[in-house]
């Protein structure tokens, strides 16, 4: 079995920064939108920027500061996909509230976002339980691979985090 792992260097720091930029963009969008809304407001629009900030920036900061075990590939992407969907859904709902309109597809998107977000959290918890709090469980793993988009040029060795049990595992670099 080959385990592909993320290039985790500063993963949470990068994630937090990107989410912060998105939050700032959404805040600007909200301010500009309200200039043309004739003093009609919607909570979904007002608090739009808080979603990526509270759901991504803050957890990323906590992960980084407390050096918490990183999420796996699927839990990471599921969670972020869900947050993105929830954010877009909130923006749409704000637009519709202000316009006095609605669309069932906005509700579908919100439901999809909620499912993905919750799934991502649940998957992370499962990952942690399986790893018994010791990071990645590599029991039975015969090789460790590097994801294709990771630049390994010049890398002489790949290490495994201290809390990973690699007893009897053989480690090699999987080139592109």
């Amino acid at each position: 079995m080959t385990l592909f792992t993320l290039n985790n260097d500063n993963l949470m720091k990068r994630t937090g920064k990107v989410a912060f930029v998105f939050a700032v963009i959404l805040a600007i969008f909200t301010v500009v939108y309200y200039q043309f809304s004739h003093n009609v407001y919607s909570d979904y629009m007002t608090y739009l920027a808080l979603i990526p900030f509270l759901a991504v920036c803050v957890p990323a900061f906590i992960f980084e500061r407390l050096n918490l075990p990183l999420p796996g590939y699927y839990s990471y992407h599921l969670y972020l996909s869900g947050i993105a969907a929830l954010t877009v859904s909130s923006g749409l709902r704000g637009i519709f509230d202000i316009a006095g309109n609605d669309s069932v597809y906005q509700v579908y998107l919100a439901a999809f976002g909620a499912v993905c977000t919750i799934s991502g959290v649940v998957l992370y918890v499962i990952e942690r339980i399986k790893g018994k709090g010791k990071g990645v469980n590599v029991e039975g793993i015969k090789e460790i691979g590097v994801r294709e988009d990771v630049n390994v040029e010049g890398v002489k060795e790949i290490g495994v985090r201290e809390d990973v049990n690699v007893e009897d595992a053989s480690v090699k670099v999987v080139e592109e």
């Binding site: 004739h38 009609v40 407001y41 749409l92 637009i95 202000i98 006095g100 309109n101 669309s103 998107l109």
Partner: protein
């Protein structure tokens, strides 16, 4: 190869999907027409499905008004003459451009003068002004004629602007000159014009309309006092003679097609998926809106009532004899007393806005009110101020309809107010329905 592999990772694919879904959702909400029901299908005896608004082509049942093209309108199995909605697609709404006293500046391809209703053989209406002299209509030289411009953004439920939509193509009534309207009907008509206060009237067999333009709270308000002998004269018109989401036309275009003497925009039901819609005795939508949604019900005896959608179903209203139900609100006046206070708002709307309202003094005696707003001349009215206007006009029951840029009053072939989105430019908005008399 690296770039391709990078692009085929989850993030860009998901981002593209999300953007596409967002665009589709916005189109669905603001542009794509759906749930359409053609009135011509109803004429063939089809029954409107309340849930979907679709016809099934089956024989007319007893609890529906039949379009009056057959000469009868039936409801609950009984027969009543006259009234009902006449499909206008047949093009039998004609005018003969009869003259009126006092004269008026009115663009018309046939030489001016107010239109008359020739359909029922009634004589041409007479129009007089308060001073009996030739004077320009409210709106003056720049009386707003049906514009050929692509429709602006439609009016939102809370009086604000939103979205954009292509205006359905239509033919424009020919215009005379000299009233400030350019031949191509563009620049001269888009500037906000200062209205002239005064009164204007129209009377014919069975219909009397007295339009008063006045200034209330720094706002020009147009109050039309309507007296009809036959309460069926008070009717609803649909954009493109079609019920449906995102189906819209200018108020003036609908009014012109239906040969209306006086018309105002309705509740813009087509902007939403919920809220009762009953027009001319047909139930088009029975899905209730929010729990506290107040609707205006017009019964076949011409009386008005304000109800709450959580307390009664649309079908029950139909069974009680409702011929029109409007779902916008809030109710303004009930039993002659204001229902709104200074702090009330329409879905967090700004206090002062262009407004449209309809009220009843008694069955057969109605009041249509439109106010300007968002301009230097007209600040706009709050709901409480609008309620006061309706009470001053003698209304026992009054109801707020779609306002903001949708607010339009059409009288004797002209738009009498300054419909505007942002106050910089006069531009009529496409709406899904109108209320009119003829």
């Amino acid at each position: 190869m690296k770039i391709i592999k990078r692009l085929i990772s989850w993030t860009p694919i998901y981002s593209l999907l999300l953007v596409a879904y967002t665009v589709f959702t916005l189109l669905d909400a603001f542009v794509i027409p759906h749930d359409m029901v053609k009135l011509s299908a109803l004429e063939e005896g089809g029954e409107v499905s309340a849930a979907t608004g679709e016809t099934d082509g089956s024989t007319e049942k007893g609890d529906r008004h039949k379009p009056s093209g057959s000469g009868d309108a039936t409801t609950d199995g009984s027969t009543e003459k006259g009234g009902g909605h006449k499909p206008s697609g047949s093009g039998d709404a004609t005018t003969d451009g009869s003259s009126g006293k006092g004269g008026r500046h009115k663009p018309s391809g046939n030489g001016g003068g107010p239109r008359s209703r020739s359909e029922d053989g009634s004589s041409g209406g007479e129009s007089t002004t308060s001073d009996g002299e030739t004077r320009r209509r409210p709106g003056g030289e720049g009386s707003h004629k049906p514009s050929e411009k692509p429709g602006g953004r439609k009016e939102s439920a809370d009086g604000t602007e939103s979205g954009g939509r292509q205006k359905p193509s239509r033919t424009k009534s020919s215009e005379g000159g000299g009233n400030g309207a350019s031949d191509d009907g563009t620049d001269a008509q888009t500037a906000v014009k200062t209205p002239e206060t005064g009164t204007d009237t129209y009377s014919s067999d069975g219909l009397t309309v007295k339009l008063t333009t006045k200034k209330v709270n720094d706002t020009y308000v147009y109050v039309a006092d309507v007296v009809v002998e036959d309460v069926d004269s008070l009717q609803a018109g649909l954009a493109e003679d079609t019920f449906g989401r995102n189906v819209s036309e200018d108020t003036s275009v609908i009014a012109e097609r239906l040969s209306a003497v006086l018309a105002i925009n309705g509740d813009y039901y087509g902007f939403r998926n919920a809220g009762y819609v009953i027009r001319n005795g047909y139930l088009y939508r029975e899905k209730a809106s929010s729990d506290d949604q107040e609707d205006l019900v017009i019964y076949k005896d011409g009386s008005f009532e304000i109800i709450n959608e959580s307390e009664v179903t649309a079908k029950e209203l139909l069974e009680k004899g409702a011929v029109q139900v409007y779902s916008f609100g809030p109710g303004l006046v009930s039993d002659g007393k204001a229902m709104v206070t200074a702090g009330d708002e329409v879905d967090k709307a700004m206090s002062s806005n262009p407004r449209t309202a309809i009220g009843m003094v008694e069955a057969g005696h109605y009041v249509f009110v439109v106010s300007d707003g968002r301009t230097e001349d007209s600040e706009g009215l709050s709901l409480a101020e609008l309620a006061d206007v309706m009470i001053d006009a003698g209304c026992k029951v009054a109801y707020n309809l779609d306002g903001g840029g949708s607010s339009t009053m059409y009288f004797k072939g002209e738009i009498v107010n300054n419909p505007t989105t942002n106050g910089n430019r006069v531009d009529e908005r496409s709406v899904s329905d109108i209320v009119y008399v003829k």
